[in-house]
């Protein structure tokens, strides 16, 4: 009897340790990636000079001039544009699915959005290159590869994230809120905008922040449609290069300081991602409180 318990206990411990090891592997890789990225990237930042690197507006690798300001701006503009385009559509879709649409329609819309999330980014980029870029070229000229094309593609790409998270946030709003509001004589639309959305606010914000993370990190689709010119954009139809595209475009040929500068671009991008994650955690923390 006693032996039996011992074996059971041993078994429990083994499984626990195994799970612990698996958990450690994830953290280990995060640690190694961070350490490696910072070890490879930060020396270049100091060699180039922090100010010259972050605020320099010229990227000319053959002359060893490395300024990523236009790329930081392009990443921010692209992400902001995607948010402006994607968030309203995403939230309205979520409201529609959670509150308005009858069940049969939800059964069509939801799988469609889930499928949208599963499409590989290179397909989005290809679609952008052969459909959206020529349309922009026809309307505005200048080739069509532009910040605008990147914004449209990113706006579509962040939709699933925003719709899914917002929808579950809206569904989690207690029924009594809605019933109370309707009982007081508010219309359904008034109830949605005045009661349900404010109550689901932090969940929706979390979805938006995750969407920002997706948009700023997207690489392949952006390389295909954005034109990749390392200049500060003056209008929405200008060609831009984001931080992620810069790394992916030039890594295969780079060596020496050029390669280190690309790692350094990664460091700056990583810092942006960390900031976004901190924001996300603060939001989730607030909503749990």
């Amino acid at each position: 009897m006693k032996k039996d318990i011992r074996i059971k206990k041993f078994y429990e411990k083994t499984v626990e340790t195994w799970f612990l090891l698996c958990a450690i592997i994830a953290i280990l890789f995060l640690g190694i990636i961070s350490i490696y990225l910072f070890l490879e990237g930060t020396p270049a930042i100091f060699k180039i000079g922090l100010k010259e690197f972050i605020l320099g507006s010229k990227w000319m690798t053959s002359a060893e001039i490395f300024g990523i300001f236009p790329m930081i701006i392009a990443s921010i503009y692209g992400t902001l544009g995607a948010i402006v385009l994607g968030v309203p559509i995403g939230i309205f879709t979520a409201i529609f699915m959670a509150e308005i649409a009858p069940e049969p329609i939800v059964k069509i819309v939801r799988p469609a959005i889930e499928l949208l999330a599963g499409i590989p980014s290179v397909i989005y980029g290809f679609f952008g290159l052969i459909v959206i870029v020529p349309i922009i070229d026809n309307i505005f000229g200048n080739g069509g590869n532009s910040l605008l094309a990147a914004i449209i593609i990113l706006g579509i790409m962040i939709l699933p994230t925003i719709v899914n998270i917002s929808e579950s946030a809206i569904r989690e709003v207690p029924k009594s809120y809605k019933e109370g509001s309707l009982a007081l004589g508010a219309s359904q639309i008034q109830t949605i905008f005045r009661v349900i959305l404010p109550a689901a606010r932090s969940g929706i914000l979390a979805g938006v922040v995750l969407g920002i993370g997706r948009a700023i990190g997207e690489t392949m689709a952006v390389i295909l449609v954005a034109g990749n010119t390392p200049l500060l954009p003056e209008s929405i139809t200008d060609r831009v290069r984001t931080m992620t595209s810069n790394i992916a475009l030039e890594m295969s040929y780079a060596f020496g300081l050029h390669q280190e500068a690309l790692f350094a671009t990664g460091v700056i991008l990583f810092i942006f991602i960390i900031l976004i994650n901190v924001a996300l955690h603060l939001l989730v923390f607030r909503s749990e409180k």
Binding site: I24, A63, D137, T229, P230, D238, L249, Y253, F255
Partner: protein
Amino acid sequence: MKKIITSLIVLILITSLITACTGTSHVSEGTESTGTISVVGSTSVTPLAQEIAYEFEDAHPEIRVDIQGVGSSAGIKAVYDGVAHIGMASRNLKPEEKEWGLTEHVIAIDGVAVAVHPNNPVSDLSLETVTKIFKGEITNWSEVGGNDMEILVVSREAGSGTRGAFEELVDLLEDKESLLREDALIAEGNGSVKANIASKEGAIGYLSLGYLDETITPVKIDGVEPTVENILSGDYKVSRPFLMLTKDPVDPNVQSYLDFIMSTEGQEIAGQNFVPVK
């Protein structure tokens, strides 16, 4: 106890990973040098030399080929100084380098074609005009006999071998700084350059000869079409030789590697991306 064991395991994992990461770069140093050929030079030639070397090492397991891409000039200097067996260069030798008495082996030729959209009536440009277009001094097709349309310059990314060769050949470099117009559309890879030219009527770009097809139209440079024949005859100027340079006396192992490159098998590999010489 459990905590100690797990932390030990973690420690072992970390150290083994770190040593695995840092250790790989030193593996090559321990091997004996008698059967090793050192090949040093142009980064553009490196992939081709490496690919042929893999096949060569399969056929001659006793010989190791050690290839380093450090740039054409450094490679030429290294073989002259006797530091390397073979120097690789992706350009012709300069007059002073010619005097060093190195033996030149042309192993392949890389042609760079300038191409436009099929609807573009412009079919012939002088080398000078090409330079002006890529610099941004000519910005409308009507200035070179075409339709009234903005010229859209498509270029490769910085560091690309094709871009380096093109900038050198059409005189787009000044003190190592690229004179390419800054707002050029940058496409990743020859295929992407082709796709961009094929979809935009005002586009002009350059790409490796092997990527030409009916979706884009190559323009004649100074009246010469970019074809394998014209490159071989030397009429088409926007091309460069891939050279292997040796200094006498040539080691038999080195000779057998060079022979392998010039063999049918080696030239077949060269022909995949470049113009073979045999």
